[in-house]
Symmetry: C2
Subunit: 199 residues, 2 copies
């Protein structure tokens, strides 16, 4: 029995301790991504989101690429900590790469010049929605994941490795796997400082 919407929203957390141990089929993971990409809204129904789902060995490759990119920019004497961090992501079973197709965004800018400056912003907002939907749906299947942003550092190598279109802009990476521990307590600011109601 799946959780209801509000419960699923409340139970999604960032999981940094993940493993490859999973009883969920690749087909189910694929369906989670398909469903999220299909139903997450976008400005003018432009459907600018693009997703690459990397599983198992391809997932490992993704984090090896990230590690080698970081090795070039992180001082050698502090690389061990970086290495541990990237390995914690690589320990997972899969990674969702989020892109926004800039050819779609640019097409909207040309067609509706009045909103020219808005389309890139709405594209980012829509990508955020998609990231959230996949994250929560994966959690609903028992996975733990987190959201990472090594975008500029890895974008060229990632596109080259998986032969992706130039116009796909890399927005975020979501490593996921079997959660190996419960996340700690999360601090919440008082809602009365964040919400005002007038009636």
């Amino acid at each position: 029995m799946k959780k209801d919407f509000k419960t699923a929203v409340a139970q999604r957390r960032s999981h940094y301790s993940i493993s490859k141990k999973t009883s969920v089929s690749d087909q189910t993971i694929r369906e989670v991504v398909d469903h999220a990409v299909k139903y997450t809204p976008s400005a003018f129904n432009s459907q600018s989101a693009r997703v690459v789902l990397l599983l198992d060995k391809e997932h490992d490759k993704m984090w090896d690429i990230t590690k080698e990119s970081l090795r070039k920019v992180v001082p050698a004497d502090s690389f061990e900590q970086t290495n541990d961090k990237i390995n914690s992501f690589k320990n997972g079973y899969g990674t969702v790469l989020y892109f926004e197709d800039q050819s779609i965004v640019e097409g909207l800018q040309e067609e509706f010049s009045l909103y020219k400056d808005n389309f890139p912003v709405w594209s980012e907002q829509s990508s955020g929605m998609l990231q959230f939907v996949v994250w929560t749906a994966l959690a609903d299947e028992g996975f733990g994941g987190s959201l990472q942003h090594y975008n500029e550092l890895i974008e060229n190598d990632v596109k080259s490795e998986w032969n992706l279109p130039d116009k796909w802009k890399l927005i975020a990476q979501m490593p996921f796997g079997h959660p190996e521990s419960e996340p700690g307590n999360k601090e919440y600011a008082p809602l009365e400082n964040r919400i005002r109601v007038y009636k």
Copy 2:
């Protein structure tokens, strides 16, 4: 019985034909917003989202403000169409105004200068997540809503009317109400053009 997460995600649509006829209590609407604001994630758990919930007469006022702002910029001979559009939002019962507190974003930029350029982008992505969560949760309660962006046009008047902090940046407006008709068919691009899987 509430819908499960995937069903709720698939059933959220844009509703433009809405009314004030509702059997959902203001308290329930308030709880939907509280829950969404609390549990939607943000970069570094910065909780930069701010929300103003306008109900009933205050909702009407919001769309009157928007109408008067538009009257100043829309040619008189094409104002009737604009007027009808704004009235379709005003016909609803409430509006959720989404803001991002720039004092939080700027604080992160100062504290973590390495990610300076990223925080405004992550703030927009997180706002997108929140918009999606509220939208879907309202739909789960039987409401229909849509996402509007009269930001620059109305921001000063809105802040002045409800005495909101200068640093709250207006991101979007979500009018909602009792859905008076079913949305039409939505076109979906083939998923094979949007998703790639490697394993």
